[in-house]
């Protein structure tokens, strides 16, 4: 694969705290300097115009059995963070592929990634940046990596961007591939939402084709607790998710939930948690 957009990379990740229990075996031992996860920094294009945008990517590659967390990590864990530390750019919100669900001992829900994931951060280049030169954008990434123990790791690196009046329009193929795993909004008929009362909701999702596995990933705010979430298959191409929330009295407004099914684009859906049963 030709990686035209790969302008800079850094492989070293530094464990902030390294520890391992007696089960660790070949895994990271106490004070083991080897990271559980390596990170490569990429951009979707090596050129950008003043005032234009570019996508910064952090490709996390995790050792077998280790995982890192989604933007809502579930009942434990913390999300990975990417920070571009330069006055030349304005960063947007991180973008996340649909996660997978971890089975953690004790029934503690965990949402995130195993093996590898490309997390992205949109960067807007300031208008005042002159055409014709290269700019170096320092980037830091930190994450919590867990297996039998959890280790907090971080890396620092940079990406180089060429400031061009008419930048190349090509996009790094990895960004295209991983963008297909980002949840996207759908028409209201695809997700039928029903408030059942007592803070319970039912979501019937009609998929483009039959599936074997489907999942739902609620994204509660700080004042909403997820009591239970269960997804079953009711038709070859339809999943049903029952969600029970435990909101604090202050909770109101919209809440997001992401649905995924094997081999199909993931869906993001919002619903109003103040709704009551009909």
């Amino acid at each position: 694969m030709k990686l035209r957009g790969r302008v800079a990379f850094a492989l070293a990740a530094l464990p902030l705290a390294v520890a391992a229990g007696p089960e660790s075996g070949l895994d990271n031992e106490p004070d083991d300097p080897r990271p559980t996860t390596t990170v490569e920094l990429l951009t979707d294009n090596r050129q950008v115009a003043p005032g234009g945008s570019v996508m910064l990517g952090a490709m996390l590659t995790m050792k077998p059995g280790w995982h890192t967390y989604w933007r809502h990590p579930g009942e434990a864990g913390l999300p990975t963070r990417i920070r571009a530390e330069s006055p030349l750019v304005e960063a947007g919100d991180m973008q996340w592929p649909a996660p997978m669900e971890f089975g953690q001992p004790g029934g503690i829900a965990g949402y995130g990634y195993a093996q590898e994931v490309l997390l992205t951060l949109p960067l807007k280049i300031r208008e005042a940046v002159p055409v014709g030169g290269m700019v170096k954008i320092p980037v830091s990434v930190d994450w919590l990596s867990c297996k039998h123990v959890c280790i907090r790791e971080e890396m620092s690196g940079s990406v180089l961007l060429e400031i061009a009046a008419e930048p190349d329009q090509s996009t790094h193929p990895l960004f295209v591939a991983w963008a297909e795993r980002h949840p996207h909004p759908v028409d209201p008929y695809t997700v039928q939402t029903q408030a059942l009362g007592n803070h319970q909701w039912q979501f019937d999702v009609t998929w483009n084709k039959p599936f074997e596995a489907a999942h739902a990933f609620p994204v509660p705010g700080e004042d909403v607790f997820v009591e239970s979430v269960a997804t079953t298959q009711v038709k070859p191409n339809q999943s049903r998710t029952l969600l029970k929330l435990d909101p604090l009295p202050s909770a109101s407004g919209d809440m997001e939930i992401v649905f995924s099914a094997d081999g199909q684009p993931a869906i993001t859906h919002t619903f109003n948690i103040s709704e009551t049963s009909p």
Partner: protein, 194 residues
């Protein structure tokens, strides 16, 4: 694209997702605190019932978790325990952490409070402890606070809101803590596999 394809193919093999932890049988704010009797780092049996007339703080701890470690190193809990007229009990529900491991941690950091071993996780489950750290405040035998130690998971804020400190001040004033529930942060409790 080989690695991406591999990732996708593995995700296809996942089965339908059912469930999340059920809290129905676990202690929640406003309910009675389940009693327990556990062994501390010195080998003494410690029961919640021993402290019926006192405010009790439970701290789920795991010295191998970077969030627990940070608070130990920063002295967050040690300071709170010393400043307040409370019984502070750390509970280690990590399945591989025995009495000696707890004793080593107490000695290394001159913790000033006890760590109780809960290797089978029974007490952790009875309180639905999710993370390390995960904090509970018990007053008059009732759970009155359940959640995070503070509002700073990464330990980066200049000014932190310490929820447990606030809860203890309110309890001392005869008030109910507000907030009574927050989302705990940290590593998942490393329970024994069932």
């Amino acid at each position: 694209m080989t690695k991406l394809s591999l990732t996708l193919s593995i995700s296809l093999s996942l089965s339908l997702s059912i469930g999340l932890a059920c809290h129905a049988e676990a202690a929640t704010v406003g309910e009675s605190a389940p009693d327990f009797s556990l062994t501390d780092e010195a080998g003494n049996q410690v029961a919640l019932a021993d402290f019926i007339d006192q405010t009790v703080v439970l701290e789920w701890i795991n010295p191998d978790c970077p969030y627990s470690r940070r608070h130990t190193v920063e002295g967050t809990m040690k300071q709170l325990a010393a400043q307040n007229d409370v019984v502070w009990l750390a509970i280690n529900s990590t399945h591989y952490a025995d009495q000696q491991a707890n004793a080593d941690w107490v000695a290394e950091h001159e913790l000033g409070y006890r760590i109780l071993a809960d290797q089978n996780g029974a007490v952790g489950h009875s309180y639905a402890a999710k993370t390390t750290p995960h904090m509970m405040v018990i007053e008059n035998g009732e759970v009155v606070y359940d959640g995070a130690i503070d509002d700073d998971p990464h330990g980066e804020k200049d000014q932190r809101v310490n929820y447990v400190d606030g809860a203890l001040l309110q309890v001392a004033a005869g008030e109910s803590p507000d907030p009574a529930r927050t989302k705990p942060y940290g590593c998942s409790v490393k329970y024994a596999k069932s």
